[in-house]
Symmetry: C2
Subunit: 368 residues, 2 copies
């Protein structure tokens, strides 16, 4: 947790959506800009699977956040006009309660005794933060990737609790290819002998499995088209250590994946990753009423924006069209924007020049 | 090796394309139909990475082969008219010499002492089989997937040694996404502690790594579209053993991958897999003369057929168009067929109703 991250205890028994409960869980969050007098300018952000609440820098924490170019004075999410809140997802490991936290009932780390996590729980915990801040109705909920599903869960469980909704590269529910990717990532971690059925030493976690999972993640987050342009068949130079290894890294794309694996692994708790990954598989808007239509029909939104990327293979464009169609049926003021970015699912993190104008237009902010 | 599989020793020093040599390697192959008097009706098949030479059943071996519906009397590759040869790829483990074979120089299994394998070596070893059979010029070379690259290597190294060429779901060279898939598959196997730097006990191989690699393979061999139709969000029933496992198989697509992993792993030698996988990355037709154009310009073909599948993510359609364009420049009688199959790269193995008519048309056979 950075210096700008605050926490709140959601006092009492926090009932989980499927089964079980948490005793007074903690939620970490960060905010930018001031809440206005009518408490009507709140914007809640749900991140993807792995980020913390530190979405952008501020006076208290100068380090860049994961959506640095999106949030701040004069930026698309304009902190001069809005009170912007980003939560660390329930079940994550950056200040919010999750499988790596101590279970107050036992004094031991939850590990696999953490109850089944769903994105409904993620939404409910964020709702607790918003209530704690004294906000009855948000201006907007914004969700990216997994966070878009959490945002749908928020809006369907608390109709009218947000006037507007932005879904970015998300889904109404996971399809088999995305489930397969995540299932294999989980199996990579669980197959690492150091995972020890969830009872790993936090100082000696299943790094090998995490590295493999991260590489598969990167393959699903980016796009073949980007890599054709960026790497082609470009080679790396053999280093002294690996010159005799017949399977050493030889192509630039292999070195790229290696660098990403090195950066990520060790930074995220493996059990938290497993729970959040499975929660992404489990979410299905159709469970709220028996069909997608009935799920959407519960929403009370004044305006919605759905953004998707043509090269996204994890949350493909058709899923964005499905969200937009479902929203349009209950919220005529819904806009679908299909962006021609080449960097796949990750575009909302790395292709800001494409995303900023669309968000600016929605909030009628001018942008940088 | 099945009862219909024959072997031939390629006597003498077999010089490898990059470096090193093999001493009198063995090649396994299977044939269907008789060679005619003019020895002009030979068809050579290069398989994908993992199949054996047993492409179809015959009087000597009634078990179904990997291209059972394609080869036989009255079938598209008509054994009443053609002498059809399928080789087990050099470097594989079904009768041909590979990393799992004994090195005659040391009396020990090659393992990682096997020299760097390339598809040029694969082609050259098959050329040795064809020469052994007394065939100066083949009617056709057919290559599927990796085998299409081996077929290109055959035709570029021996211009005129085949009159016709069929490339199925292949490439002139691997692009970064395919390299990334294979690199990660190799890393999964090499990360398994049982791999022991290639020195595993053949009775206790790195099954865990092989299973993971197979699952990633299946994800690249099929298509998201197929899985949407076939599985959707269909669930499995929890078994007694896994009822308390929070990450147990819950979706049908996970059970499907599990079944495929169970079927495959243990059936293929891990080191052989690693060598063949890397050989697929390394092949680049442009290395034959400095550019793809100069590579293609070496070919002496009378007719060519390129078949691709719109849903193939491992050898995407654009690569089929590139092969067809390159072939057309030197062999005007080239046809490109883009099949609208839903089962991705594997379509040539599982969607025979789509492939048979195209092959029949090429060979003017009537089909079943």
């Amino acid at each position: 947790m950075g210096p700008a991250t605050k926490t709140v205890t959601l006092e009492g028994r926090f009932q989980m959506h499927r089964a079980g409960h948490l005793e007074s869980p903690t939620m970490a969050y960060e905010t930018w800009g001031e809440l206005n007098e009518s408490r009507s300018n709140g914007i809640l952000i749900f991140s993807g699977l792995s980020p913390s609440a530190h979405a952008a820098s501020s006076a208290e924490d100068h380090s860049a956040g994961w959506w640095e170019d999106m949030i701040g004075p004069g930026l698309p999410l304009d902190s001069n006009r809005y009170h912007i809140i980003c939560v660390n997802t329930l079940g994550s490991c950056f200040g919010s309660t999750g499988p790596a936290s101590v279970d107050p009932a036992t004094g031991e780390i939850y590990r696999l005794r953490f109850p089944t996590l769903t994105l409904e729980d993620v939404a409910e915990a964020a709702y607790g933060v918003v209530c704690h801040l004294g906000i009855e109705q948000l201006d907007s909920v914004i969700g990216c990737s997994m966070g878009g599903m959490s945002g749908l869960a928020y809006c369907v469980r608390h109709p009218g609790a947000a006037r507007r909704f932005i879904s970015i590269s998300s889904a109404t529910r996971a399809l088999p290819f995305a489930i397969a990717v995540r299932s294999l990532q989980r199996e990579m971690i669980r197959s690492d002998p150091k995972w020890m059925n969830g009872n790993y030493d936090p100082k000696d976690p299943p790094i090998t499995g995490q590295r493999l999972a991260r590489k598969l993640g990167m393959m699903s987050y980016r796009s073949p088209e980007e890599w054709n342009q960026r790497f082609g068949r470009q080679r790396t130079t053999a280093t002294e250590e690996n010159v005799n290894d017949p399977f050493k890294i030889a192509f630039s794309v292999e070195a790229y994946l290696e660098n990403h694996a090195n950066k990520f692994s060790g930074g995220f708790d493996p059990n938290c990753y497993l729970y959040l990954s499975r929660a992404s598989d489990l979410f299905d808007l159709a469970e709220h009423g028996g069909s997608l239509e009935s799920g959407f029909s519960k929403l009370r939104l004044e305006r919605a924006l759905v953004i998707g990327v043509v090269t996204d293979i994890l949350f493909p464009l058709q899923q964005q069209r499905d969200i937009a169609a479902g929203l349009s049926a209950v919220c005529p003021n819904t806009r679908l924007v299909e962006l021609d970015c080449i960097r796949g699912h990750d575009s909302f993190l790395v292709d800001m020049d494409a995303f900023r104008p669309v968000i600016c237009d929605f909030f009628e902010t001018c942008g940088p």
